[in-house]
Point group: D4
Chain length 208, copies 8
């Protein structure tokens, strides 16, 4: 039995951090297939937009071999703070990044990135140490292989981070389908093929 109240994700207190989803770095990811990973990352972007969460993008050396942030994310968030870090590996070491978070006044960090064991784990540990609640989107974060993934998840869990996936983030923020049923169903339909199939079967049958 837990003795702490369940701190739910709250769309008025949450901010999304997208760390180093760059065209070069993603070639290092092998714990998800490329199609799964792309779908998960863009789904998380969809969720951030749908709930109008402040979203902060950051990259590491995008002019070098790491490559630019994937264009789809940039297009999803044209007005978001975008912080190309000049050298700090842990994004939390970059003042602009932390200030962008602080400027939102929010305390719930939803984070994903490439690679999990570095670009996600380091800022997660730093933020937890400063009192933030951190929710790691495990399936929108990728790394070299599942052994590395499991070790990174264990390290973050031990430090107090909560492991989630993009779908549970969406559902916890939504709370009640009646808040915007069509909107959420549309989002899920784009990113979960079997859910789309259910909706299509249903629509055909009920429109007869």
């Amino acid at each position: 039995m837990s003795n702490v109240p369940y701190k739910r994700l709250n769309k008025d207190d949450a901010v999304v951090l997208l760390v180093d989803h760059q065209t070069g770095l993603i070639s290092l990811v092998q714990d998800f297939s490329p199609n799964e990973f792309k779908n998960n990352v863009l789904a998380l972007g969809d969720v951030a937009k749908f709930f109008k969460l402040p979203t902060i993008l950051t990259t590491s050396f995008e002019s070098g071999p790491n490559g630019p942030m994937v264009p789809e994310l940039k297009e999803q968030f044209p007005d978001a703070p975008y912080i190309p870090r000049p050298g700090q590996i842990n994004a939390w070491d970059n003042e602009d990044f932390v200030n962008a978070i602080k400027a939102t006044g929010r305390k719930q960090l939803i984070i994903a990135g490439v690679v999990t064991d570095v670009c996600v784990t380091f800022p997660t540990l730093s933020a937890l140490a400063e009192g933030y609640d951190v929710f790691v989107v495990t399936d929108a974060s990728g790394t070299f292989n599942t052994a590395v993934q499991q070790a990174a998840w264990a390290r973050m869990t031990a430090a107090g981070a909560q492991l989630m996936n993009w779908f549970s983030v969406a559902c916890e923020l939504q709370g009640d389908w009646r808040n915007d049923m069509e909107g959420l169903a549309n989002l899920l339909s784009q990113r979960i093929p079997n859910y789309r199939n259910l909706i299509n079967s249903y629509t055909v049958l009920t429109s007869k």
Copy 2:
């Protein structure tokens, strides 16, 4: 070494919660094969009935694409509280659901559902925060893939939930085979083929 007494499942203090095992939603489950999953869910239903545990069923939008609760469960529990939620994703946000639990006066929640990371995890975290003991039936709960499953298990474990499987739930409730040997053996025989084989081999040999 633990410094808390072992709180065993107790058939006089336990209640079973079956959350969103719906014909449409189950098509999202890929961390168990369909046959394994069906067997596990119905086995949990058998256990609830065998020990006469109060059981509460709930669904999410069963008139839409999510589909109705699987009929076998409805047939197993024709008189159980049945709460179709009008929109709340976390069943704990539905007053009728929580009141049904409170009406039992019991504090041990045995929970399973679809999908694990949402329909099981959210009420688990809520119930733990309110002081209940929560026992998650991992193999009667399904989700998109094992990566999502593992993250959800870790989140619930960190919050104080206990991970179990339907067989260990049955055994912990039974306590002593002599309480009803034939009854339990019969239940296990229906759901565990290798156990049934043992019994059949034995029966033939000893009836000669």
Copy 3:
């Protein structure tokens, strides 16, 4: 491009051979989970009955540790030829077994058994050598592990056997859903949980 006509399974020319599905021997099977395997074997039994195919059962030393044939199969085929072999490992070496096949006048053998590499492979090779067409039901045949399974499949394929699964056997025999739509749908609904879910979702929606 093949230069032989496609020999389809034909319900007037096919016979089903169930070899050594015994309560003891099945404990050796580890290439399918016990629940999957049980479901597949009984599904093949359902198919044989549904299409009224002559079916022949045989066992190896059922009075010893190998145990009796699983009772469900015996119950499905109370009047089928039942040949407990006194010692022959390859069922084809047992005259009664071969005579039972010959008595049907049929040339298409649908075979499944335990273990794949012996009880299925040996009679398959023998029957092929005598000019029969042999269709191996791979998912109703089990063995020690997937390495053994793969080697046995390769050996039988090289000898001219066709690898199938119980579902494709059912569909090839049915040919056209209109031959008995309700009957086949009912059979599939019992053995394929996701298909059952589709039917249940559909029925609810169309009965409104």
Copy 4:
């Protein structure tokens, strides 16, 4: 060493057959993740359109639980022959389907469908027996699990079918990148995330 000339896929002799990719049936597919499978099927659709291959769509009982063909495919091919089969399981048993193929005057069949062991395997065997060359798009065809998949692949290979994947189909039809480099690159970029990343990295660097 082979003693038959290599028959390459030829865009003037090939026709694409999409069999039973229906919203209900796809819930049976578990040998590919839903996202992988959706991507592969739509990629094959893209290939058919890009090379202007005649394409034939067929479904099985789309008014029942099997559900309608996935809408994306219907939208890709609004003018293609579309043959809802009234009952034949093997599409080759449907005269309209075979006539639609014959009307193209083409002899190379590129086929994909759900489920592999029935809806793909049966017409493949029938077509091979009638002298067609059949190219199975393995990754745009799905079924219950990998054991069933492997058995179906072995059966079709033994009968003379060639196993391919959507990407190799695209490349064999293209032959030379110079035939339409931008067009093919665009297609691949939509369906292969790591290829898209390469292109994006390259474009940024070379446009500086």
Copy 5:
């Protein structure tokens, strides 16, 4: 950083508990291959004997389908307390079993059994609650599948049990090779084929 001293396994304070390794029940084990499991269980028996640890054996209904304890273990420990439980599922509920432990005066429990989620987990939780240190020999304990295994391991870890394997138990008890180098090397050589190979290669080269 831990704030408790490392409590090492100590051959003067440890006792080995072998729970329900019965000929019938073992047919339920599928998270280890039969050969691996047999080797691990007997290796743990070897370790108990080598370090002269008091060892307690217990079974559940050995006259019924569960079958007798595997004879090799009985032969290894002819004089050990042997407690056939008349019905208690949790061995800790059997007074004779607990008294046998108390009679040793030892506080470190090394436990293994079949199945992990019941026969190992239940007494582990009970013993931890009474202040014992419990060391679970994960690879000499088996259960239905790895999902059940992982849930049981998580439950025991959360309660304070330490997860080990038979080899690390042996090494922690030995402490220093010089305590009996030949004896331990001989034990390992019997149970770890690659270690045996190293020794054989070495012996040949150095005896020239």
Copy 6:
């Protein structure tokens, strides 16, 4: 349908070839766990002895890093031809080895070795080319990983070798249990733990 008679393994025409099971080389094997592999190799040795098959052992540079043949095999066959090859990688290139085979006058070669893709594949291809029937014992042959294993199996199958496992070799040679029931049961009991368990359960029940 095959048009060749089924050539069964025949204990009067078969010879066993054990190639390069050396203490050093075995450390290269990773497609089977060390315990599984050791058990399979020794089981094949047991089979050879049980059926009194002529058996030929050969090694490659046993005085160097490859190490000596595993001593258990040497002990099983103290009087067998033992041919340490001075350099030939393909054992068939060694005259003494081929002569030892020819001296038996037998035409069915049962072969196993380390590593599969070289020490088994090369002599298999050579022997097939000279008209021998070759039966590869896949589970007593090991190599670097399953990708290499699968390629080697495919190469040998294409050349006409038959893939078997030690258990199917034993059963095909035995033919009829009545030839020596106790002997074979004893052999299997030593090498197949679940079979031993069946026998032990049976013996206890029937000796009451």
Copy 7:
């Protein structure tokens, strides 16, 4: 039994073809881990050099996103024919490539490339059709995932290609260790860590 003589790899008749191992394309490979794949490709390069086999390198659009050939290969073969193809996907469609092969006068093609299903499969099928013997180095050829890999292997096998791995290529070319023991041992030691360990253990013991 095969009725063709075994055509061994012969260092006087073999030529090595390295197709499209380019820095960009390799990011598509996911059926081998990046480290395994790099090691296998360079090992094949080592083998080609060690046996002084003529080696031909070719690339596809190396000025675009596909990237240049990996520099290590270029350095290994500074004087080899190097054919950057202007557009042909199947290298066999490039006259310079085929002429380079013909110029060697050799008929045994050892081929590896990226991706397996296109850059390896297409020229393999073309070469087989023209009467060459083709040996595919499966572990130095990579593609999107194992499903694609398996389909490509099956297609090439059916057309008459032989599946090998770099190690078996090396051993078949060497024939007899005595041809250059130190040279080959050195090569293997660089690419097979466990072999290197054997040699190091041996060297220390025998130099005492």
Copy 8:
């Protein structure tokens, strides 16, 4: 939320411990492929050298079958303390080893070894108990199989160790790429093939 400050790895407070990476013992490692493991271990060596971290090497009975430390590590650290332990299994029981650590005055231990469950776990638990921070390099530590690996990871995590991988160790020590961009990029390029490919692609494009 964590209530302890994040203790980062600090190159002025960290020391690297390499335990028992010996040529014989490594043949026991099966949870990583030999190539992966070798690459990871040498990469950790590279990291230690790059950051000039004091590094301590120790072995267990290197004159016996365990074999000598792998020569590459010895060559990387010719002047490092090198402690061949005369018998202590837990390196922490060896005074010289602990004194070598104390002599550095550092409190952050970065540890890797063979096998994980013994040679890494035991000193980790001992060091944690004495107040050190311990960072386990999971991918440079190997053991018998993943079940043993997972149990050992869980035991160390529960005791307060942090699970890392060599790449995250490198990045956490580096902190900011600008500290030595070329140096780190060079290190990564040697050990991460896909990163090397990115750099090579980039270099070619930007040098045009």
